[in-house]
Symmetry: C2
Subunit: 926 residues, 2 copies
């Protein structure tokens, strides 16, 4: 491997081809991720940095894409280039591919631009056949090793390349072990392995209809094809959809000479992070197995040792590895996830890539690396995913307790981390029972093979969801994320038995029955037996996070406000860094126990006088509500209030009345029981009133500004309460500037008339008080017509606040109250259509979670442009739930909003997302 | 009057003014309507044509607008010009304004560009005071005449200019007549009139706080101001709103020397049309009174004579009038409405304008005038209002019977013709009773002082509505037009007594009590006692109309299709001239009695198999439905089918199930009565199913294409039925090209997936039949998102059909099912706001009747442009109810649609409206 090897042979072949499809590791570098994929670029960079990397070459992503374009034919010249590269690898390793003497074995692995762990195919030990296996025996002096490698190769190649059923091989193995009365694969003697190789080849032939390929070039050819094909397997497509990775990138194929960690106790294999992926501490974090191949670590049949022990077992190797890790981290300026193999005391690096980390680690690593001078603050802000900030603020398992549980063997399995958060409760195996128990306030975790719309009522009351099947975009995953419910999905290590109401942990005798306590960690995908206590995070103690967010604040242009209806919400919002209240809903105040009877009196009033009397009773309540909010929002630094946007009454009045069905049943019962005629008469009158007020489509009904136009006295009362509250504080020397917001406007005339009403009240209040109060008047943009005619609204408004929830409902014609249950989740998840293998996805994202840029966004952009054209300094914000979604926040930054307003808990996410949006669009903004 | 009069004096004054504000009649002409108003331009044209017009002058509309701009100050120089013009009129008439000798009296009348009859103010006999009245006595030798004129002037001036209460004067008159025991005003002797003049002046002073003006110039000044002001009185604003007359036009003021028809039996006054305004016959049609002033004709205290009698009474005058009428008609090339006065045997023309006419007359006049060579066919097509065509096709009173009723004195009063159509039934005075009787199938006419939203349930079952108060945009008028219900509103001649349940005809002793039969003609505003039979029009016999429409067809570019669900509707559509079916709703077919149980089975199916079995049962029904429609729509001329657009199932499935409330009551009753547990269990299951399926907002729910994606088997069955029906006809040699339309699309992926489903079915059906069938695939554009992303839909669709009903619902966020009842009618009608004199109109038109060009229209236009850009020959039509509205049709023409589709009865309207749109946009199109 030390001799000087030239690329000449490869160069020649490339010149005869239309294109260069193959790169030796020594020809690539870290910047070539697009062409060589993440893994290929990584090993190339390591190779050129002089690190010990087993030689090999990468077939480019372009080759993969050309392969698809040419209807699954290798591009012209690619195979020749690969063969030529292989020759160079033979020289580099001084081994021969398919040669009985000193045979070269290779691994064939996928490697896309963005890491898609476990989604695509890998084949190890390729190049082995009945002849070369003899060479391997000779080379290693270890017959068992050689035949075990052969047996593994057949198994893996059959599954991956020949699409054989892996269970057939497992069954034979199991049968053998049972007959021989041995427990682990490692105990199988060489002679038996020889026999298994024969049997495995027969199974492969039986299942594929062709003899198992003994020609090593045929093996290679087929393995490369299989890796190309795996780019478009269902798992991979789903993964890309979920992670928003474009489908046109293609995968590279890495062909690398094998090194063996299973050649004795001076050999081994392991993985390690350069820093802890859970805490972010700067220390090697990983594990290894001596005398083992990589798949043994994954299989979990032997317990690996912590990386620190390597210092004792192979001190020289450990030191070298530590230096390498340090060097790679400095080189990449990021925490690395490393794979290595030690072959007879010699360290080989197989992979380096940015390490995945949890929320806490992400923040700490970013902060530490700034302190270490590795990255600057901007880079630190870009390094943390906004959604990780959300995870940091979710209840989570106490780390100590979780460790104890793991050490006590209570970790049952690991599935897909489908929706973050920690939950514990009694395992329940059907939605109806979950609903019953949930309503009885018993914490439950719903366990299902997979979920369907029939399970949603159970999910609504569960603390968490666990499924055995389904990926990141499965029904369970999508619904749980929508509900903010922890979920572990696709847990292949368990088998759910619905009839018996239990699940078994595969490969163990562990069983969890209905009613047993379990704990699930939606952020890590771990499932535990028993209860693990959760801890609520304390934002004040998240020193690193607060530092990161303060950096973020210095980069963002968007302000972050919060939606809050009560002083306690407003307080929380301020604590999380909100700079204003973008939406204070006044109607929640109507629902409180002591007020509801007055509100009902107001609604059922038969005369203006009666209504006015009820409103007069409500006025002091509302005034003190508003005063409370205003007081909370006073910025102590300047003694002035942060902006507070108060929306006048919005929901249809019948929401405050008992439901029609409820009263109908009461009337029917009274009729049947021949009750007091007076009572019946009153109930019937109530029924008629409720009937008159209910609507076919309340979402599109008498609500929003329509209410205030039909019943102006409600608007008058609310406006008076707002202004009087502000005046009272003004008398205490506190400057408040309320912003009054009008919902559901579709026509400028509505706005003009409400403005006229309000101005009359303001004049009256000012007259009574002897001093005026400044206020701003604005409108929600939440109907398509308002967006389309924003130029007519702007002259009448001081600000626009986009209500993207309702705007999404009307632009799509989808009722949010119903749609998840009836069709929307299935649209997002994909429809199973007869005759199609893959699910048909109708909506790329859930439009109530991520703003639909093309449709709803088009309207928003139009309104921003028209509004600003009509009034240059119009204040523009958004108060729909999209205000807390990072992807949506980026869009709102791009189109020039002034602020986003979201729920208090999402304020930190929004601060970070707004900063990232500003940083990533810095160039355009300049 | 024959001497040569010059304008020199006026010219001089004009030159000293910044602008010419005043035109002598001799200075104007018919083309100056904008500046001089209709009346001013008319008298000017007549003056210059040498017709006998009493001299006068016109103050321009510009002066009126400048008056408003200058905060109600006369424009600089206007008054001086008016005085100078008055001097010339004095010369022309040889009389003196305010002179005791031979005094000049003038009339001061409004006159806007568009006729607004009765909406603005008029003052007659101006120039009279205690001195000039003496001159009038001397001139006429008739003291009674002179003092009667004086008395009338004080009354009219007080009411119009001084805003005095007219009842005060009436009361005095009535008291006098009672005391003197006389019945009519005409019997009051001169001495008494003298006394009345004194009393009237006292009343005027008392009410206005100032002495009644004796200075004739002050009278004139104030009268001109009053006419200017009347442009913005409430009645006038409402009238303009309703008739879509712009508010910025302003009114002119006509000051004209008085001539007197009440100077003996060689004097008189009258009005006449040059052709019959009800039948269109070419003959003078009108009436006159000898020895009378114009107001006497209006007051109806003396019965006027038919114009023909004038031939006997004043043959010379009649001949001159007849020639004048003929001349004016030829001059204006339209039927004229003339006012004239005869003073001592001399004819004076006071006004000429285009005569208002009913539908039948409008058509006949247009057709006849083409035959007479007066106008060309294009002009004829432009002359008839499309809505008149609709009136022609409504049931109407038998003309003979109506005449009989009138002659028998059964004509009770005349109100505003608020909503066309004829109706008879029992008078009912409250909505609840109307509802009861209506439900009992008793025809009722709801009579109310005025209506409010509380009356709507009664209007829904009534045959017609009659109100005493309220104008053309009153609640009653707007609701009735919305419901297609005949309505006579604002009938000032009746007084409704709600408590007594009756109405009295003012000035008579006639009383109509609850339960009495009445008949109302919504097209003329007439109200009759008793029943008048109605006749249904026979389109085939409407020869003139058919001719006019055939001319229209040759000018229009838009095709006219119809919405029809059944063969009988399709037949009617063809008879009315439809060229295709733009919307065939398939779900109505599901509702039929024998099918509903199968449909319910399909919906309640628990397995795919059960659902499929039910669908298999429905297939033959649907196939024969479609075959029926296709057969009806075969154009016998070419043996090929007109296009038929079939929309796949649209409404939410729960519409086919019993209502939740219904089942809830049943379950409650069963529970209370301790019924058969099995029956209770089944009902409870049904209740749960219905509960699971019902939606908060069904309009935005699981309907349209969403249904076909969640339950593909429904789409599959419907598509199969359509294609098999077409194939069966193809075998009979009839070529059919069905167009399959997908409702409620919001995303291109929906369309792609449904298209894939359909193509699979088409392939299957073609395979079975051994021959393929051509079909087109298209989408409705009825959600804002579909319009915004039309460029993504066009590549997947052969045609777009705009569903402007749903598009209006979602663009405005208004539920059509609820909104009229809750707020929409009040938005259109105007809100009564505390502290405001005028109602505040929120929507200028009803958005479900006239397409909202600014908002909804903006989306439609966007979709047309984006759609055509993506696919040049995309077929574009509209199938919402706006397809039958003339104003909307003009818009659809302008933006380049291919066709409109409307209800069969509206097809003739649409043909005419489309032609008018094409003609009026001819220039732009070139």
């Amino acid at each position: 491997m030390t001799q000087q090897i030239t690329h000449e042979g490869l160069d020649e072949v490339v010149q005869q081809s239309p294109h260069k499809w193959v790169y030796l590791f020594s020809e690539g570098n870290a910047k070539m991720r697009d062409l060589l994929g993440g893994k290929g670029a990584g090993v190339a960079e390591m190779t050129n940095a002089g690190l010990p990397v087993p030689p090999g070459f990468t077939i480019t992503t372009e080759a993969c894409n050309t392969y698809y374009e040419a209807d699954k034919q290798f591009p012209q010249g690619m195979w020749q280039q690969a063969l030529e590269a292989l020759k160079i690898v033979e020289q580099q390793t001084d081994k021969g591919f398919g040669k009985k003497e000193n045979p070269l074995l290779v691994s064939v692995r996928s490697g896309a631009k963005f890491s898609m762990p476990g989604m695509m195919d890998t084949v190890l030990n390729l190049g082995i056949n009945d002849e070369t296996v003899q060479g391997l025996v000779a080379l290693t002096g270890n017959e068992r090793f050689a035949y075990d490698a052969y047996r593994r190769f057949i198994q893996m190649f059959s599954k991956t390349v020949l699409n054989a059923d892996p269970h057939a091989f497992e069954q034979v193995l199991e049968r053998y072990k049972k007959e021989a009365n041995i427990k682990s694969d490692a105990e199988i003697p060489a002679a038996a392995l020889k026999q298994l190789v024969v049997e495995f080849k027969q199974i492969a032939e039986h299942q594929s209809g062709h003899p198992f390929p003994t020609d090593v070039y045929e093996q290679l050819h087929k393995a490369i094809e299989a890796v190309f094909s795996s780019w478009n397997n269902k798992r991979a497509i789903d993964y890309r959809n979920f992670n928003k990775i474009p489908h046109h990138l293609g995968t590279a194929v890495n062909v690398q000479s094998m090194v063996f960690g299973n050649m004795g106790n001076d050999s081994g294999t392991g993985v390690a992070f350069t820093r802890s992926p859970t805490t972010g501490e700067k220390q090697l974090y990983g594990e290894y197995l001596l005398n083992a191949q990589g798949e043994d670590v994954v299989a979990g049949t032997r317990t690996p040792s912590k990386i620190e022990r390597l210092q004792e077992e192979l001190p020289h190797v450990y030191q070298q590895f530590q230096q390498t890790a340090e060097r790679l981290e400095r080189h990449y300026r990021d925490m690395q996830d490393l794979e290595f193999t030690v072959e007879k005391g010699r360290l080989y690096m197989l992979q380096t890539r940015s390490g995945k980390r949890n929320a806490q680690a992400a923040v700490k690593v970013a902060i530490d690396m700034v302190a270490e001078g590795l990255i600057d603050k901007q880079e630190a802000v870009k390094r943390v995913e906004p959604v990780q900030v959300y995870h940091l603020l979710l209840p989570r398992f106490d780390e100590e307790e979780k460790k104890k549980a793991t050490d006590a063997g209570r970790l049952l399995a690991k599935g897909l981390n489908a929706s973050p958060g920690a939950a514990y409760g009694k395992a329940v195996f059907d939605a109806d029972r979950a609903e019953e128990m949930g309503k009885a306030k018993i914490p439950v975790v719903l366990v299902r093979p997979e979920t369907s719309p029939d399970d949603v009522h159970g999910m609504l009351v569960a603390k968490g969801v666990l499924t055995a099947r389904g990926g990141a975009t499965s029904h369970a995953a999508v619904v749980a994320r929508g509900l903010g419910l922890p979920c572990v999905a696709g847990t292949e290590g368990i088998r759910v038995d619905e009839a018996e109401r239990l699940f078994r942990v595969i490969g163990t005798d562990k069983v969890i029955r209905e009613g047993d306590e379990i704990s699930i960690d939606g952020a890590s995908g771990e499932i535990f037996a028993g209860t693990i206590p959760t801890v609520a995070p304390d934002f004040d103690k998240e020193v690193d996070l607060k530092k990161l967010l303060s950096w973020a604040d210095s980069y963002r242009r968007l302000q972050v406000w919060a939606n809050a209806d009560y002083p306690r919400d407003a307080k929380r919002a301020i604590d999380f860094g909100a700079e204003g209240i973008g939406l204070c809903r006044t109607e929640h105040m109507f629902m409180e126990q002591e007020r509801l009877p007055i509100v009902r009196k107001m609604i059922l009033a038969k005369t203006k006088q009666e209504r006015q009397a009820a409103l007069d009773q409500l006025l002091p309540f509302q005034r003190s509500d508003f005063k409370g909010i205003f007081e909370t929002m006073i910025n102590p630094k300047v003694g002035e209030g942060y902006p507070v946007v108060i929306r006048l009454i919005d929901p249809p009045l019948h929401e405050f009345l008992p439901s029609y069905e409820e009263v109908l049943v009461e009337v029917t019962k009274l009729e049947m029981s021949g009750a007091d005629p007076q009572q019946l008469k009153e109930k019937r009158e109530l029924l008629e009133t409720v009937d008159n007020m209910r609507e076919q489509n309340p979402m599109l009904g008498l609500r929003g500004c329509r209410l205030g136009l039909i019943f102006p006295e409600i608007n008058v009362m609310q406006t008076r309460a707002i202004l009087e509250a502000a005046l009272e504080l003004a008398k205490e020397g506190k400057k408040i500037q309320p912003k009054i917001m009008i919902p559901l406007v579709s026509h400028a005339n509505e706005l003009k008339e409400v403005r006229r009403q309000l101005e009359a009240v303001a004049k009256e209040v000012a007259g009574e008080a002897g001093s005026a109060i400044e206020y701003k008047f604005g409108t929600m943009i939440e109907l398509p017509r308002a967006a389309l005619l924003a130029d007519q609204l702007a002259p009448v408004a001081d600000f626009f606040s986009f209500g993207t929830n309702d705007l999404t409902q009307t632009t799509f014609g989808i009722s949010r109250d119903d749609a998840d249950r009836t069709f929307l989740l299935r649209y997002v998840e994909g429809l199973e259509e007869p005759g199609l293998k893959e699910k048909v996805r109708i909506f790329p994202t859930h439009p109530f979670q991520v703003v639909d840029r093309e449709g709803v966004g088009q309207l928003v952009r139009m309104a921003v442009e028209k509004g600003r054209k009509a009034k240059e300094h119009l204040e523009l914000g958004i108060c729909g739930e999209h205000g807390g979604d990072p992807d949506s926040i980026e869009f709102f930054h791009m189109i020039g909003m002034d602020y986003v307003s979201c729920s208090p808990f999402r304020v930190p996410i929004a601060r970070l997302a707004a900063a990232q949006a500003a940083l990533s669009h810095q160039e355009q903004d300049k």
